[in-house]
Amino acid sequence: MSLDHTTHPAPPAARQRVSTNVLIGVGVVLTGLLAGLYYGFAVSVMPALHRSSDRTMVEAMWEINRVIQNPVFFLSFAGAPIASLWLLIRARRGGSTPYLRWIAVGFALNALGLLITIAFNIPLNNTLDKAGDPARVSNLAAARDNFENPWIAWNIVRTIVTTAAFCCLARVAFLRPRSPR
């Protein structure tokens, strides 16, 4: 091999490895962001609203669900499952590696968290939303009863599932060999 060879651009495998590292980093941080977001509801927002009047509780959740429909939240919400799926597809293409199973479990847990949100939390939000403007809802106590406890329970489940996904993907960062220099 001539010295001249070292002046050529890095071979494709090395270049891809660097971007895979970035993908792992982004995937882990987005998963942590999402786990923390659910965690914030579990340990702070919902316990506080639980103490509040029916009106404040229903209106606050109603406003949160309105504000939540923005691109920033969508990115945090779908970003972690998408990044981990991307990682899984790339890792599978690269053949069997010691960390493939951790990527697979990390993706599966992220996907499960998304499914819980779609199957349980979003329908509960929609039911609350359909009850209409809280200023005009006649039976606030009933709207609250239908929403509060199941939403809190499923939020705790998705917090645990997404936290486990974070640990799996962090394990990938540790097991993956360093880029050659």
């Binding site: 590292n21 942590g32 962001l33 977001l37 702070s44 404040t56 962090a170």
Partner: protein
């Protein structure tokens, strides 16, 4: 990297991620939602949040991560020659300054002032409007800092 240091780094990264994600929720939609409520209800809800947040589940992540960050800084000074040390030191330092420091110097004083406010008083509405802007801006700082810290600690795990 020994399994002890691995666990310490993972715990610090996880705690930073959870705390960052929680504050992210406040900056992106909890505070805008509370700001959309009538001032008296928004104030009452935020006062309730500030009281209820003092609980074991939150403090475990918030102060526990401060503890693991201090331990991580000690570990990096002892193992300064290792490849992961700069990443771990930067992440742990960023959490202590950007989360604990900002919370104590910027967010807690504003919480204390809000706790003293009477939700239905007209004077409180002005205070609430300022709180919504200033508290939330500092909250965004303590959202970005721990997320960057988590990324640095994942980097530490990778180069170890």
């Amino acid at each position: 990297m020994s399994s002890g240091i691995f666990s310490l780094t993972l715990a610090t990264a996880l705690g930073s991620g959870l705390v960052g994600g929680m504050f992210f929720a406040f900056s992106t939609f909890v505070m805008p939602a509370l700001g959309a409520l009538p001032a008296s209800q928004g104030i009452a809800a935020m006062q309730s949040i500030n009281v209820k947040v003092i609980n074991a589940w939150f403090m475990t992540a918030f102060l526990g991560t401060a503890g693991t960050s201090v331990a991580a800084i000690v570990v990096t000074t002892v193992n300064w020659g290792s490849a992961y040390a700069p990443y771990l030191l930067a992440g742990a330092g960023l959490y202590l300054v950007g989360v604990i420091g900002v919370t104590m110097l910027a967010n807690v004083p504003r919480n204390d002032a809000l706790a003293a406010a009477e939700p239905t008083a007209s004077r409180s509405a002005d205070q609430w409007r300022r709180y919504l802007i200033e508290w939330t801006n500092w909250n965004t700082v303590r959202t970005i800092a721990p997320l960057v810290a988590a990324a640095l600690e994942i980097g530490a795990l990778h180069v170890a």
